[in-house]
Every structure is written in C-alpha cells, then in structure tokens.
C-alpha cells in the first residue's frame, strides 16, 4: 500500500472505534460498566469534527493549487 498524507477522518474514526471496542471488551470481562448514552453522541461529534476538519483542509489545498485570480468571484 502506498503511503499518503495523513487522513484525519480515518485516523479519528479508527481511534474512536478502537477505543470503544477496547472499552466494551473490558466491560464484558470485568464488572466495570459503561454508560451507553454517551457512546453515540461521542461518535457523532468525533466523526463530524473529522469531516469538517478534512473538508477545510481540502479547501485550503485546493486554493493553494488554484489560487484566486484578480476579479475572480470565487469565494
């Protein structure tokens, strides 16, 4: 597999899912319990933040590749 620039969406999503998997495995094997009400909001916030951050980064990269011209109405 070819190495590429850091993909924040994959990184954050992977970290969230891996941590949640470990939490559920630990709680299943011990007496520790987890409050499921917080799981989905955390997942949504993390994925949404990753998506927005990735979009902003892509937008910056695009503007570097295609700089604005004088009089260009973009923006």
């Amino acid at each position: 597999m070819r190495r590429h620039d850091l993909d924040w969406v994959s990184l954050i999503a992977g970290a969230v899912f891996t941590v949640l998997a470990l939490v559920y495995i630990v709680t299943a094997l011990t007496d520790v319990s987890v409050d499921g009400r917080f799981v989905w909001p955390i997942v949504l916030v993390a994925l949404g933040a990753a998506g927005v951050a990735s979009a902003i980064k892509a937008n910056q990269r695009e503007e570097q590749q295609f700089p604005l011209e004088a009089g260009d109405g973009r923006g």
Partner: protein, 411 residues
Amino acid sequence: MLTITMIPVRPRAHIGVAPARSTREGSGWCQGRSPMWEHRIGEDGEGMTENQPTIAEPVDPTASSTGAPETPGTGTSSDSSGPSYGAPPPYPPPPAYPPQKPALRRSRTDRVLTGVCGGLAENLGIDAVLIRILVVVGTVFTGGALIIAYVIAWALMPDTPAYAVVVQAPGYAPQPGVPASFAAGGTGTYVDPATGAVYGPPTPVAPLPRTEPRSYLGLVALSAAIVVGGIFGIVSAAGGSVPGAVVAGTMLGVLGIGLLLGAWRGRARWLIFPALLMLLITQGAAAVDDYRPSGGAGDRTWTPTAASQDFQLGAGSATLDLRQLPPGPVDVTVQLGAGELIVLVPADTEVQLDGSIGAGEFDFPGQDPQSGVGLSFTHSITPVGGSTAVTTVDLSAEIGLGNLEVRRATS
C-alpha cells in the same frame, strides 16, 4: 507565403477532469469569460507551433459565420502540397454556453466520506463545508436518523466517473488523427500543413488511468473482522463461553485498526459504515450480557399470585399479567435479555415501576414512548378514576435489548 490562422486558446478549465473541479472553473467560463484568441503567423507553414506568440492582421470574426468554406486542393489551408493557403480559414465565434447545473453525483474531488455532501454542494452551488455542518448538526438533533438518510443518498447517488470529460464543446483542442476537412460555417477541422496537427471538433477523451491504485485495505480489514467473528463462533460451538460483547467488540476493534492503518496507507474510509453497524451490535450484545438472564427463550405469560416473585427470560416475548395478584403490597422482578415485555395492569392496581433498558423502547400509559440506548425509568401508575388502590405493585424490570409496554388491562 504568409499564413495567418486564428487559434483560440482555451481557458485553463475548458476541459475539466471532473465536474467537481470544472464546476468552479467552468462556472467562470460560463459566467462570461471569453476565450482568448491567439493569432499565429507562419511562412509556408514553417515555424508554426501551437502556442507561438503571434502577430496577425485583425480578422473580422463575423466573417467566419458567413464566409464560404474553401475546399482542399484550391489553395486552402488543408492543402499541404501547395505553397499557398489562401485566405485564413474561418473560425467560430466565441461560444456562449449557458450555465449548466452539475448533475447530482457523488463528488470525486470534494470527498470526505463518500462524496455525498460534496456532490450535493456542487449541485446546489453552495459550499460543501456548510452541507457537512448541517449534516452533523442534523444528525445530532435527529438522534442519528440522518445517518440513515445519508446512507440512502450514498446508495442512490451515482459516483462521478473517474475519467476526463470534455465539459464544453469547443473543438479547439488539437485532435491528431481526425480526418481533415472543412465544414460549412467554420465549424469543421483544420489541418496544420506544417505539423500535421488537426484542429477540429472534440472527440471523446479516452479514460485516464487511475491516479491512485485501488486500496484493498478496507476489504482486508472487513474480511479479517469476519474471520475473527467466525473463530469466536467456532470456540462457542465447541463449548467455550465467550460473551457476545467480546465477539462484537473484537470485530469492531479489527475494523478500527483497519481505519487507523488507512490514515497513513491505503484508503479505507468506507469502513466507518460497517464499524457503526458493528458498534450498534456491540452495544446490544453488551446490554444482553449485562443481564445474563436465564429462563431460555420463547414466549411466556407470567401471572404472579404471590407477594414476591421473580421472572426471567433469555430471549423472546413475555406478558406479565398482574390481574391475579392478591391485595396488598407486592414485589415483582422481571429480567429479559432480548425481546418484548408487556405488563397488564388492572384498573384497581397501583404500580411503582422502575428499571432500565440497554437498548430499545418503553411505552407507558399516558405518555409518549421513549426509545434509545441506556434507558432508565421510574414511573408511577395510579388506579383509574383516582380510587384507592387495592393492590400496590413494586415492579422492577431489566431489559437488555427490546421493548417494554405497560397496558391497562380491560378487566
């Protein structure tokens, strides 16, 4: 012999690789950017190159639309044997293309997860970041229901083709290999006698090779997760005891590791969707594991008659009928792993209800049903008509995955 030809030079984005990119660039074109026209000069065809700076006599553009085309062999531009090419070939006027709304496709260039938001933004002509923010906020406020809409959109919206397309129709690009000819009205092709290049209508552009090799990381991770689940299944079938949350959690962990690897190598963002599904399964399995009720599986009807009774069911549908209870205080406890519990309460009975549901819904008389994950409740059901309760039930209900419904018994 001096030859003057008029070669329009395309704006940068005249040919776009993908509609996403061409939307912005192309919109500039559509909004009134005129193509730049380059005058080219050459003598006997020598020294003519495509982008050579030029000096030229101004030519009336209107002549191109009315001038009669010249034919090969009569001193026209397409006659490569003759030293003279006659008058400059007609050229088409600058095209005025109406703005075109991009098709509703998943974007290939403005993509975070699947390109749904990017494609929608291109179609609507607004910033994709705004769409994404709305999706995230909407998802939170709809309790995750918008994710279903997103998945449906992902399934319905076609992907943008991964090859270059001619966005506008110009015919200004050199098209070697196209038979030389002049068409009436100056919209035909023109052969450069010096270089052999042919300028004419566009021909379909062959698909470009993928700029990025297909990544099998996601497929490998998903397959590995399935294999892990299968191994746990074999262990369980062989007599081992593995909690369901451990099985599902391990599979979720494999998907998470696949995503983590994809942050640096390969591409595996689509694993987010199976991971979300696996997270839901893991939560359900954990909720069932927490209660670990015995009592097997199937349909049950419980009719307590003593002052204190416990009922358990692993999986299935259970009905708790409180109509046979003796007068006075009664204590009833119910544990249900997965399924549905219906409680029938007679009119002269007061019930003090408390308990929890790992994932599911509860529906009590006189209030709207509530659903979700990690539900806990405390509810009081008083006798009908405000009469004095003959029987007072302290009911505790623990449900892993499923529904609880409390009904007033008719008799």
